[in-house]
């Protein structure tokens, strides 16, 4: 187990909280966060493994269910038990494990857990202070509950997709599972809300987290401005979504000699931009910066085209202009800042011993952030069944023969 560099004296924030993680795909980020905060997270996956394990990237593109990149990241810090949830015996095992836990995370299609005998009602009949967090695309009830979701469908209905991309082209989705992973962040937060509610009242709770809601939450500002003035924001490329002529510009991405920079004006002192790029005629355009955005781009591009991105950002930041480089993944891996902060960590997975991956989401002075490698399939099956349920070696062999556990 590696911990952050800080000297810490105390146990992790969520030490002593036990979580059962039944999620799949990018919803797994919720359990990863809770494990980072120190909860014991037991990943119950099928005997063939969570489908997440089939997601890449894989070294040399060779599929191996132990070493998929997304699994290594999103399952970090968890323990794994393989259980066939389609079998009655498997369902009983899962129910008994949950009986020893504080929190359940799940992302099955709404209604599935009921058919597996694991609905919130049935779980809480004997375990009244259980906290359950259900994640789904559209929610556990309502007219769209049984609709089929995906990242791109969720961001479409959540109003987010129309706001991303260039105005003259079809909208474009954000990278990877951005909104589903954000949904999982809401779920992890809900779990801690549930724990605090339980501390106060002794009651459990059931949280229903929907990806379409997370999409709407992420939109932020343009939502409130619609309520106030009825203007429906539209995608605006890399410019901000508020297009009144007097509004701030630049805030955009422009090409330079060797790539792209994010160019941003100083809110309080727009003229600083003309100090950075002197004598090219910017000053008169700042009365209505957004209204002159095309012209400002044209002038900036000439200046930028002869300079590389690190030089541009260095010169801008010396003036406190919030320019940054648009970094590529290779550049990020060489980035001196992340290296000095120890953000990328090697979790020493036996089959991927030299891989770096994102570490802490937060640093705390007195309690550690826990980084521990992702588990092999069923790596902790024996230990969990023995210590939590007292199921001995002989019984386990029998369950294995029947294909109930792995």
């Amino acid at each position: 187990m590696t911990e952050q560099a800080h000297e810490t004296k105390s146990p992790a924030i969520l030490e002593g909280i036990r979580v059962v993680d039944l999620t799949t795909g990018s919803f797994n980020y919720a359990g990863r966060l809770l494990a980072g905060l120190g909860a014991e997270v037991i990943k119950i996956e099928s005997t063939e493994g969570d489908p997440l394990r089939h997601w890449g990237p894989f070294r040399d593109d060779k599929k191996d269910i132990e070493t998929g990149g997304r699994h290594l990241h999103l399952d970090a810090g968890k323990r794994s038990i393989g259980i066939d949830l389609d079998s009655l015996e498997g369902q009983t095992l899962a129910k008994n494990i949950i009986g020893n836990c504080d929190v359940v995370l799940e992302s099955f299609e709404p209604g599935y857990l009921e058919t597996a005998g694991l609905s919130f009602e049935s779980l809480t009949s004997s375990h009244t202070d259980l906290i359950m967090v259900s994640m789904s695309h559209f929610g556990q009830s309502g007219p769209y509950k049984d609709y089929h979701g995906s990242e791109i469908v969720d961001v479409a209905i959540g109003g987010y997709l129309r706001l991303t991309g260039e105005p003259d082209r079809e909208p474009v989705k954000p990278y990877d599972d951005l909104v589903i992973q954000h949904t999982a962040l809401h779920a992890a937060t809900a779990a801690v809300v549930g724990i605090m509610h339980r501390d106060n009242t002794g009651e459990g709770d059931w949280f229903d987290v929907a990806a379409i809601d997370a999409a709407l939450f992420l939109i932020g500002g343009p939502t409130q401005s619609y309520f106030f003035n009825g203007k429906v924001a539209q995608r605006n490329g890399n410019r901000l979504l508020f297009t009144e002529p007097q509004y701030l510009y630049p805030s955009t991405i422009r090409p330079c000699l060797d790539g792209y920079v994010h160019a941003h004006g100083n809110n309080r002192n727009q003229d600083l931009l003309a100090v950075l790029m002197p004598d090219i005629g910017l000053e008169p355009l700042f009365d209505t910066p957004m209204g002159n955005a095309d012209k400002i781009d044209e002038l900036m591009d000439l200046w930028l085209s002869t300079r590389d991105k690190f030089e541009v950002v260095r010169l801008a930041q010396e003036l406190r202009l919030p320019f940054t480089e648009v970094l590529t993944p290779e550049e990020i891996l060489r980035d001196p800042h992340l290296e000095e902060r120890g953000f990328l960590v090697n979790l020493e997975h036996p089959l991927e011993p030299n891989l770096l991956q994102p570490g802490h989401a937060a640093l705390m002075s007195e309690t550690p952030w826990i980084n521990r490698r992702a588990p092999l399939i069923g790596e902790h099956t024996d230990e969990i069944l023995q210590t939590l349920l007292g199921i001995d070696e002989e019984e386990r062999a029998e369950l294995r023969d029947k294909g109930v556990i792995e």
Partner: protein
């Protein structure tokens, strides 16, 4: 209406921009008393659109800007000049009564004001302090200036969002602020619980860049595993095909589709009235469909252009295929699923009347959800803080106002 999970927890919020305020909103929604502290100098009125005052209400444009109302709902507002010695002393007395102090100033400003964790811990030993710097409190970029979209650029997200033949892209408005705000709320709640159990406060450092980079792992790993630089892939998916955004009947109308399996592909081919395409060997499996994605896109779009987004969505969902109309914000707000989930919460503002706010993505059986209330009017908690919490006399309060240390209206 707010949840009760953070009942009796007092948060002092010294924040600018977006991430810090979002964290404060979530803590307020979960039942904390969040006191936002703002300079009496006033605030930027550069904000898109403002509704008129309701009848009988005073005309205070500074209370009606969109940004402020979005980012500070559910909070109280103390207008206090921290740069003045007396203002700073009031703040320090308030810290004695607080559980959490949250700031996202630049590291320099916090040092200059003399309100960093080491100082505040002397006043209240178990205080929880939260900083939300863009890049962190160490490293070569510690003092860099940046807003949300600039951090999106450095995280790799911009490079990875967009079409392969287009520029790097920005997801909607920006991503890292909302993400960092919620991550901060999560960590603060955990830290409050830790303090409740152990009596120990602490300092939390949440670098917005590092919260955001939790999303970038696959692209980083592809470099390390395969020396391959992931480029932008537009609307395509590495495990599903076809996936895309397709033009529908009408101007700027679209539907998003994800075909997850060979069977779903055959259903779609039949829906578009091309049973011979369903049997076409080029498209029979994922690899083939990835290879011929452009041909498939044309076939699919020829069909979607004859339908409205809602028609296309309904017929595909009926066949078990993930599909969704691209909704405008106004359409999302009246959508039956959002209505069912009560995603929007209407709260009454004393000067503008009733407006909706969007809440976090969860609903709970025990109502640990909700929006705590409207954004505060300027200085609405001045009296509460000075009289009720700190026992200042009327005279002393008047003196503070005369000196411009506290104000009931912007002084600029």
């Amino acid at each position: 209406m707010s949840a009760q999970a953070l009942n009796k927890i007092r948060v002092l919020e010294l924040t600018t921009a977006v991430a810090g305020p979002v964290a404060g909103c979530v803590l307020a929604d979960m039942g904390a008393e969040v006191i936002k502290i703002e300079s009496p100098g006033g605030r930027s009125l550069k904000s898109p659109g403002a509704p008129p005052p309701i009848e009988g209400a005073p005309d205070h444009p500074y209370n009606r800007t969109a940004f402020f109302n979005e980012l500070h709902r559910g909070k109280k507002l103390l207008s206090l000049d921290l740069k003045h010695e007396d203002g700073k002393n009031i703040f320090l007395r308030l810290v004695e009564t607080a559980d959490v102090v949250m700031e996202n100033f630049s590291p320099k400003i916090v040092g200059r004001l003399g309100i960093d964790y080491a100082e505040l811990k002397k006043i209240k030993n178990d205080i929880i302090c939260v900083s939300m710097p863009a890049f962190g409190k160490s490293g070569p970029y510690e003092s860099r200036a940046s807003y949300g979209p600039g951090i999106d650029a450095m995280s790799g997200l911009s490079h990875l969002t967009g079409f392969p033949d287009g520029n790097p892209g920005k997801p909607a408005q920006f991503y890292c602020d909302q993400n960092a705000g919620l991550t901060a709320a999560l960590t603060v709640m955990g830290a409050v619980r830790h303090r409740n159990r152990t009596g120990q406060g602490q300092y939390i450092e949440l670098a917005m860049l590092e919260g955001e980079m939790q999303l970038i792992a696959p692209a980083l790993m592809d470099v390390m595993m395969n020396s391959r630089s992931t480029n932008r892939t537009g609307n395509r998916h590495d495990r599903f095909a076809p996936q895309g955004v397709y033009k529908c009947k009408g101007e700027n109308e679209w539907v998003a589709i994800t075909v997850r399996t060979d069977l779903e592909w055959q259903s779609l081919a039949n829906l578009i009235g091309k049973p011979e395409v369903a049997k076409d060997n080029r498209f029979i499996d994922l690899d083939g469909r990835q290879m011929h994605h452009e041909d498939i896109d044309k076939l699919v779009e020829n069909w979607t252009q004859t339908l409205t987004p809602q028609e296309a969505e309904t017929v595909m969902q009926g066949a078990g295929i993930p599909a969704g109309a691209l909704l405008n914000l106004n359409e999302a707000f009246t959508h039956p699923q959002f209505q069912h989930r009560n995603t929007l919460v209407h709260v009454e503002h004393p000067e503008m009347g009733t407006f909706p706010h969007t809440r976090t993505a969860w609903r709970s059986k025990n109502k640990n959800e909700g929006v705590a209330g409207p954004a505060p009017t300027f200085g609405n908690a001045n009296k509460y803080v000075l009289s009720d919490l700190l026992n200042f006399s009327q005279e002393e309060q008047q003196k503070l106002k005369d000196l411009g240390i506290v104000s009931d209206a912007p002084l600029s």
